[in-house]
Symmetry: C2
Subunit: 311 residues, 2 copies
């Protein structure tokens, strides 16, 4: 089944202990759609400027990603510059130029309307809500957000949460959103805000899914409970940019590729999310994911199983 | 097979967001031996003062722990006072009174000499080494240490590492010991110092075992690789004191209880370690572990499997 994703398509200048890249293709919708494209059809809604050319288009087209919903606007594309010199787990932002994103009005192509899965990547919650409302019939909606929206745009974000099935955020964001420093208590509070499932990403320690009422795993196992997927211990993290979006793409892409949502497919989806996140950080920007094969993905899935399973 | 453990038996005054306890029974050897006692015979080498009475003895005896190696010395037992008010992951030490521990000379009772497993809990590496050398014929030796010894007693600690099969430390300690901020690179460096297996404890994110040449899992799988055990997401952490020692006790106790060391028993041992750590933090000091039943342990083992396994 097809996924429609709305989010940023951008240029990133990135510095890490492994080196520096100028204006590489980035943005949450880019990382998400490339990762998800290994599992299912993906359709992107975004806006880019006049600096988005055939070379960038080709990255999406090579992966059969539908980009008719990427609008071209006069001006420059969203630009982000950041570094991870002190801490690979947290970017230090130097420049955020919204550019054409400042006046983005998402438009949904007719050809996208039969998408059964919708992913609201990290953008202004007002825009996330607008896309959610324009696609009321989707089967499953997941979304992401960040500390900026939690801190300064909470009312708009709370409206978005009401329309989500699954929220994917990191530890700090979950605790900040709930105003609670205990992760389990925070997860329960976030689930009370709308999503029946909360996936908390722990960076190098993997991710935990918390299931509330209405979640796929709740109906099978009852009660509030959890599932943990590991991250791969890596000898070198070249660039963490897009790891979370790649996780989301692997997770949601695998779910959308399955005929039925069961607790087992959900668990496998968490592992595929971790697998895609582990590839993403191996090279700068989208370099590694652009290069990937399905066989490499499935080999690493087996490695993740060996890393965690008793037998 | 029996485990001999050398380490501290102490009194702890602890403050956490959940409350405060004065002078509860603690110390690394106490937490370790109580946790391990659910799996195998445990024999303790330590020193206590005149304040160690029948009430404390009874805690060990109830769990059939051999305490003939706990020496009584004139003076007071080791005393530690600390709090976790700001951060449940890191204790703030207010008072450390070594007392009788300052002049501790470990003596090994004859009845302990046939122990096949030896655990060197976190004490002065000079003492760890002395006990290790006095028991050259043990089958498997594991040990723990802490930032204080890594920072200020490194030469003595390096001598201990040469005699260890398995070292259990936390992320910060592993990185500090190796002088390397990447965990995998740090693990390789630590393994080069002696132990063929390094277990890095991640607190609320579980623990990772790294296997080098000579380790049980290396011989089965070849190459440097890893295994990750989760921690249980807990709604309330009452007191983290002793969680790491309880992990070590569950891990090493289970290993010692098995007829053969295989990669599968090692993996199960990691899970039992996490299980015992998860119980330890549910109440103050040793309260929860004193109260535990084997059925509770095995039920939680099943929960850990559900938390991590695909099917």
């Amino acid at each position: 089944m097809a996924i429609t994703v709305v989010g940023s398509v951008a240029y990133d200048s990135i510095e890490t202990p492994a080196g520096r890249r100028e204006r590489c293709l980035g943005g949450a919708a880019t990382h998400f759609s490339l990762a998800a494209s290994f599992f299912t059809d993906v359709r992107v809604i975004a806006v880019v400027g006049e600096d988005f050319g055939p070379e960038q288009e080709a990255v999406f087209k090579k992966r059969n990603i539908d980009i008719q919903g990427i609008e071209r606007a006069p001006g420059k594309s969203f630009f982000w510059e950041g570094s991870y010199l002190d801490n690979l787990n947290e970017a230090k932002t130097h420049i955020t130029d919204l550019n054409v994103f400042a006046s983005f009005e998402p438009k949904i192509p007719d050809a996208y309307r039969d998408s059964e899965f919708l992913f609201l990547a990290n953008i202004d919650p007002v825009l996330q809500r607008r896309v959610r409302e324009a696609m009321p019939d989707v089967k499953l909606v997941a979304g992401d957000t960040m500390n900026y929206w939690i801190k300064d745009h909470k009312p708009a974000l709370l409206e978005v949460l009401k329309g989500l099935d699954i929220l994917l955020i990191n530890d700090t964001e979950a605790k900040m959103l709930a105003g609670n420093n205990n992760l389990v208590q925070a997860a329960k509070a976030v689930i009370d805000m709308g999503p029946h499932t909360l996936i908390v990403k722990h960076g190098e320690y993997g991710a935990t899914a918390f299931f509330g009422k209405g979640s796929i795993s709740h109906s099978a196992h009852g009660d509030f409970h959890a599932f943990r997927a590991p991250a791969l211990p890596l000898e070198e993290v070249v660039d963490p940019t897009g790891a979370g979006d790649s996780f989301a793409g692997g997770f949601f892409g695998y779910l959308a590729s399955q005929p039925e949502l069961t607790p087992a497919t959900f668990r496998r989806a968490m592992f595929y999310g971790s697998v895609m996140g582990s590839f993403a950080v191996e090279r700068f920007g989208t370099e590694r994911i652009q290069d990937l094969t399905r066989k490499e993905i499935d080999d690493r899935f087996i490695l993740f199983r060996e890393l965690t399973h008793l037998d």
